[in-house]
């Protein structure tokens, strides 16, 4: 073995050459190369691109809702109620004459907000609790994991219902309730991942270097767990959307006249036989977005999984 670096790739220009260069000259380049190689793996999977497309569409729909909506989502006109899909109302109108397409576009904002807030609360909380329990072990582990067991022993929707009942109905409380039910599986996953690496030599090496437990957990254990947590939370997004829709359906989440998809589905149910589009359109939206997150999660697993190098 020689210590020299192979420079068989010419150094002359181009972003691609820089991204694939053998000789890496900066930390930014090292990170960019890693991202680029991951992206190439991701992009080679058509289902991944479909999933990503759906999620990006959801995000764009939420951002540009005022532009893509053809009507005011709250404007009622009783003379145009229960109209089937047509040129004027792409997805028809509901029982109060509101345009369903416009409501779904604005509803994307609510769905996206729920998903993002739940992910932002549940993922860091689960990651922290799981890694601390797994790394410290002993009574800390026992206490934290029994807490997780308590949360896991209830079905998610039932627990969310209980929280909403305690906190009062409304979108914010629904988000908090869902986040409280979403963190335990992540904590358990992070703990399992931590247990597999805590005895690794590279953790022993940094302990020998004199690092504190906090530093080891945050800088050395968490980076190992983050990919699987991202995968898990992405795959959980579908469940989170369904739980939110379920709470909306039961009247415990977003309140009328807010265009939340679950609430729309719930009111549409009464008109199911005569006007199928009231329930079908928000239902399809929920289905497509859940599918998109699932496809994206599967694809991220292929890219990020540390075991498949």
């Amino acid at each position: 073995m020689t210590a020299e670096v192979r420079t068989d790739r010419p150094a002359h220009g181009g972003l691609r050459a820089w991204l694939l260069a053998e000789t890496v000259t900066s930390p930014a380049q090292a990170r960019a190369q890693k991202l680029y190689l991951g992206w190439r793996r991701f992009a080679s999977n058509p289902l991944a691109l479909i999933g990503l497309g759906i999620v990006v569409t959801l995000i764009l729909l939420a951002i540009f809702a005022p532009l893509v909506a053809t009507h005011d989502p709250f404007a009622q006109s009783l003379d145009r109620r229960l109209l089937p899909p047509s040129g004027a109302h792409w997805l028809g109108t509901d029982e109060l004459g509101r345009d369903i397409w416009s409501r779904i576009a604005y509803g994307a904002r609510i769905t996206l907000m729920i998903v993002l807030l739940v992910a932002l609360i549940a993922a860091p909380l689960g990651l922290l609790i799981g890694t601390v329990a797994g790394y410290l072990g002993g009574w800390v582990d026992v206490a934290l994991m029994r807490l997780v067991d308590v949360f896991l022993s209830f079905p998610g929707l039932i627990l969310a219902l209980a929280f909403v009942a305690a906190l009062g109905s409304g979108l914010e409380n629904a988000i908090i309730a869902i986040a409280l039910t979403a963190w335990p599986p992540i904590a358990r996953l992070a703990r399992a991942e931590t247990l597999t690496v805590r005895r690794a030599d590279y953790i022993a090496a940094v302990r020998l270097a004199g690092a504190s437990d906090l530093r080891i957990i945050v800088r050395h254990i968490m980076p190992i767990c983050i990919p699987s947590v991202i995968i898990r939370i992405t795959l959980n997004m579908a469940g989170i959307i369904l739980t939110a829709a379920g709470l909306g359906f039961l009247g415990l989440g977003a309140q009328p006249p807010s265009p939340e998809w679950g609430a729309m589905l719930s009111t549409g149910r009464a008109y199911m036989l005569g006007s199928w589009w009231l329930a079908a359109m928000p239902g399809i939206a929920i289905l497509v977005v859940s599918l998109g997150f699932n496809l994206l999660g599967d694809a991220l697993r292929d890219v990020l999984d540390p075991r498949a190098s």
Partner: protein, 265 residues
């Protein structure tokens, strides 16, 4: 011989409880002088690696006493010890963090101890282990086994310790790379005036590197002998002789390799 850098008295480590209690190390004592290379040899499971983990402070569950560079080894984590004793692990595929570049791995001890001139220290230590600074931004999966082990050695050296504990540093490597790493360790020892404790099951490695060797079996140190005595077959225990002869065929090949690599260098 000057005052010992490492002094271990009646070290005992046991795992488990009750009926499943195992005395992994059962009353071991030894001393290592400054600049010496002390070998620990024995079959796998004889407790040689356990000794390293105890005196390095990785395992705090032991009894007896140990001092390194005049400083008693504490029974709890002691960050100050990091600048006195460091360790190189057996498997270079498991001893580097898969998500950290070489630079991150080397910068971490510098950050922990708040040392200055991080970039210069990294350049110096990479040169010392024979890696060009271009390796700084590589991830472990972009390195060969030998290169990884060089990075692991660089990481152990970056805090400028006085003692290096080497836990089978070459047994996970190709034979040709083994000789290179052993020669590198010898060179570094000479340059930095380090003291080594080298654990191995391979008499070839021990004979190439060590001044003195202790033979272990079932957690007990059977005998301590100089390399001179070992080569001339002046061992007191039959176990030592068996172990030595079992690995002799292999070691002759390795020695020839090492000498060739020396001649080439």
């Amino acid at each position: 011989m000057s005052a010992p850098v490492i002094s271990v008295r009646d070290l005992r480590v046991s795992f488990g409880r009750g009926a499943s209690l195992i005395h992994a190390v059962d009353g071991v004592s030894f001393e290592v002088a400054e600049g010496e290379v002390f070998g620990l040899v024995g079959e796998s499971g004889c407790g040689k690696s356990t000794i390293l983990r105890a005196i390095s402070g990785l395992n705090t569950e032991w009894t007896g006493s140990a001092t390194i560079a005049g400083r008693p080894v504490a029974h709890r984590r002691d960050p100050a010890m990091a600048r006195i004793v460091q360790m190189v692990f057996q498997d270079p595929y498991g001893s580097l963090h898969p998500k950290h570049t070489v630079e991150t791995a080397l910068m971490e001890p510098i950050r922990i101890h708040g040392l200055d001139n991080g970039a210069r220290r990294i350049d110096r230590v990479l040169t010392e282990v024979g890696l060009s600074p271009a390796f700084r931004y590589r991830y472990p999966h972009q390195l060969s086994g030998g290169q990884r082990q060089r990075v692991a050695i660089a990481r152990a050296l970056i805090l400028e310790p006085r003692v290096l504990l080497l836990d089978e540093p070459t047994s996970a490597l190709d034979v040709s790379v083994q000789a290179e790493i052993l020669n590198l360790l010898s060179d570094i020892k000479r340059m930095e005036n380090l003291t080594y404790v080298l654990v191995s099951h391979d008499f070839g490695v021990i004979a190439h590197m060590c001044d003195r060797v202790a033979v272990m079996n079932h957690g007990v140190m059977l005998e301590e002998l100089t390399i001179e005595d070992l080569m001339r077959g002046r061992m007191r225990h039959d176990y030592t002789r068996e172990l030595y002869e079992a690995s002799a065929g292999y070691s002759r090949r390795l020695e020839t390799r090492a000498d060739e690599a020396d001649a080439a260098a």
